[in-house]
Amino acid sequence: MPDVVVIGAGVVGAACAYYAARAGLSVTVVDQGAVAGGTTGAGEGNVLVSDKEPGPELDLASLSAGLWSDLAAEVGGFEYEPKGGLVVAETPEVLTALTGLAAKQESSGVRAEVVTPEEYEPNIARGLAGGVYYPQDAQVQPMLAAARLLHASGAQIRTGVRVTGFTRSGDRITGVRTDEGDLPAGAVVNAAGTWAGDIAALAGLPLPVLPRRGFILVTEPLPEPLIHHKVYTAAYVTNVASEDEGLETSAVVEGTPSGPVLIGASRERVGYDRTVSYPVLARLAEQAVALFPALATRKVIRAYCGFRPYCPDHLPVIGPDPRAPGLYHATGHEGAGIGLAPATGLLISRVVTGYSGQPGRPIKSGANGRSGPAESGGQLDLDLFPFRPERFT
């Protein structure tokens, strides 16, 4: 019997598997599809601190940004590029808001510099009001990242296996039921992304995780790099936290090691509708050309969409579910699941091995009665309270 079963072989499940294995636990990962076949296969791979307001998500992002850099050295093979992000403001008003945000972020430990955009990006449109450069922003290739972390974890990986329910002893979760039989486990981690709400429902628990659709455009490979950092307009910062149902777009433009330029990202709440929305693609194209006029004649060769898993308060769900001991959730990361995956995985491994849900309050035992490692005093790297699963009820 494995110590941990992780549901979902996306980047979040992969990170959970990796850190759990590193903590000495035996891990099995199940996914109804393939490795990285869910939202991770449709993500862009930005690892951002720049787009977050000070608060619990930024703390999580800062922890995660450091872990990605460590993982690039420990595991590697996923095109980690610490390229930095440039956020630009079109108008003086937006620039004031942007520099105000940057100042607040700096007091939370984020490095930020007010810069002249064209000094960082020679091909950027002229006439912008200004920008802020964030050296900690980075990029990974999300599918490779998930696959490499899973591989490095040594976990048993069972693709094409669907979780259909849970086995329980009283309230306690003792394993999962799958279309290929029962899998008993000391702990179960729900890392099913947008589908995590359905998984929770299998245990009779409400967990409001909803899909937010996003499209990405991919250009032909460019012979020489036109864009050096991730570049986006400050409008993105307000979109991410928006409550609006409707469409929002603000181009996030970046080059990739393999040559194409990626242009994201729209945000719409339309359920799981995969119908291509050409007006949305057109808007992304227009905004990208406005940022980088030299892109005008470059060709788009692909477009794809995915569904970000989001919760009503736009914070992820990370931690043990007190309603069903033995069940842990790691989901709801919306448009930042790739960036936030390592911190999520690390924290999950900590609570599974017996750390308390809150810093400074070690508990005696976790899964299989193991006690938390003594060397870090059983203290969590950050407070999980804002991410607790039961907060919606």
Binding site: A147, L150, T159, G160, P279, A296
Partner: protein, 456 residues
């Protein structure tokens, strides 16, 4: 004003349907990315050469080779059946040189020069070459059989001086005969299939085959069954090929080397389904495993108002494509079908199924791949990278693509899609290409503002 019908694809299927619908009184637009009517079978040279133009389809790419090896020929007179199809197009609005990159429900047809709208749609976008990789296939001088044929028909250029023709299927015959008649030395046709007796049930087709065989005999072109080109060699251009006798699973038994400066290799065709998939048309499988648009006996797809005809509904040659187009045209106008059309079509369809049986593609080609054999040319993905992705947990075509990038480049997997799917152990899934043809960002950005025929 909206068109009553927009036909996409001006091959035999699209031309026949457009002509039939126009004669039935509909206002019809016929759209094709090529500058000339005709599609693949009836490809015409451009006017300055005496006829059309090869569209810059990546599968027709000429690999930037030394052009002195290629030779130009005179334009032949257009075939009668082409002229008949063309003459029936009176009154049809032609939109040639227009690549359709997206089709939306209701039906807006977006091409790189604007948007057309229509009440109904007929999709007749044909097929493209099925490519099977082998060591050296990415050398300049190696091309698809369809590519060599398109070069000959569309550009009046013979692909080389000493040419080998290899692969499987009846299409190798016209290719070899055409090249030989145009003056190339065809060093041999290497046909993987061995048993062809079943074809004798179709005397008319047999006669057509005999015609090509006579041409090959006249130019002393040997035709070998049960053989395949298993490798191509050369420093920076093709210099020779390794030919093997193969068993029923396509494993090589005995090999020999043959010098040549061009190789035309064809393993049949893959239906071009981008646009019907965009519209959400249901797909099904042809008897060779290819994804095709599902149609009823009126050539109606699962989406109301959308018909499909020709090789998008199953590969089977120009005659079948034309008959499909006639049936679709009559279905759209609600006019009665001329006598015999349905019977001839059933027969042509049955013959197409038989061809799939007689000329199958077997997985034995996979054994010939070496670690450094390129599988996806656009992204330069070697076989080793496919194996690595599999070791990392890629279990299907899509996850192979996500982890190793085959099919992410310029041609969007048209070239490597078949091979990658078979390496993943499945039949190629219907292609999902929301952008069916590359389009510049500025043209995409202008999409909603473009003028349409609605404004007229």
């Amino acid at each position: 004003m909206k068109y009553d019908l927009i036909v996409i694809g001006a091959g035999p299927a699209g031309m026949a349907a457009a002509g039939t619908a126009a004669r039935g009184g509909l206002r019809v637009a016929l759209v094709d990315s090529a500058a000339q009517l005709g599609g693949q079978f009836h490809r015409q040279p451009p006017p300055e050469l005496g006829g059309g133009n090869v569209r810059d389809d990546p599968t027709h790419e000429r690999l930037g080779r030394d052009q002195s090896i290629e030779q130009a020929i005179q334009a032949p007179a257009p075939r009668r059946d082409f002229l008949r199809l063309r003459d029936r197009l009176t009154g049809v609005d032609l939109h040639l040189g227009c690549r359709v990159w997206a089709v939306e429900p209701s039906f807006a047809v977006h091409h790189d020069g604007g948007t057309l709208t229509g009440e109904r749609l007929l999709i007749a976008t044909g097929a493209h070459d099925r490519v099977v990789p082998f060591p050296g296939w990415d050398l300049p001088g190696v091309m698809t059989a369809g590519g060599a044929q398109a070069l000959l028909k569309g550009n009046l250029v013979v692909a080389g001086r000493r040419i080998a023709v290899a692969g499987t299927g009846p299409f190798l015959l016209p290719v070899a005969a055409g090249l030989a008649a145009a003056g190339a030395r065809v060093v041999g046709v290497f046909e993987a299939a061995r048993q062809m007796g079943a074809l004798a049930r179709y005397p008319a087709k047999l006669a057509e085959g005999a015609g090509y065989a006579a041409t090959l005999a006249r130019y002393r072109v040997p035709y070998h069954r049960g053989q395949a080109v298993v490798a191509a060699h050369g420093a920076d251009e093709l210099a020779k090929v390794t030919v093997a006798k193969i068993d029923d699973g396509w494993r090589a038994i005995r090999t020999r080397e043959i010098e040549c400066d061009a190789l035309a290799v064809g393993y049949g065709f893959v239906p071009q389904l981008d646009l019907p998939v965009q519209l959400g048309c249901a797909t099904t499988r042809d008897s060779d495993g290819s994804a095709i648009v599902a149609v009823d006996d009126q050539m109606r797809t699962s989406i109301t108002g959308v018909h499909a005809a020709g090789e998008t509904t199953g590969v089977g040659g120009a005659e079948l494509a034309e008959l499909d187009g006639i049936i679709a045209g009559h279905s759209i106008t609600g006019t009665p079908l001329p006598d015999g059309v349905r019977r001839r079509r059933e027969r042509a369809r049955a013959f197409a199924r038989l061809l799939h049986e007689v000329f199958p593609v077997r997985d034995g080609w996979r054994d010939r791949l070496r670690a450094d054999t390129i599988v996806c040319r656009c992204e330069e993905v070697p076989y080793q990278a496919i194996c690595d992705a599999q070791a990392l947990g890629a279990v299907d075509t899509r996850s192979l693509k996500l982890l190793a990038r085959p099919g992410m480049g310029w041609c969007q997997g048209r070239m490597c899609g078949y091979a990658v799917a078979r390496l993943a152990g499945e039949d190629p899934p219907p292609p999902r290409r929301p952008i069916a043809q590359p389009i510049s960002l500025q043209n995409l950005a202008a999409y909603p503002l473009r003028s349409t025929n609605d404004d007229a």
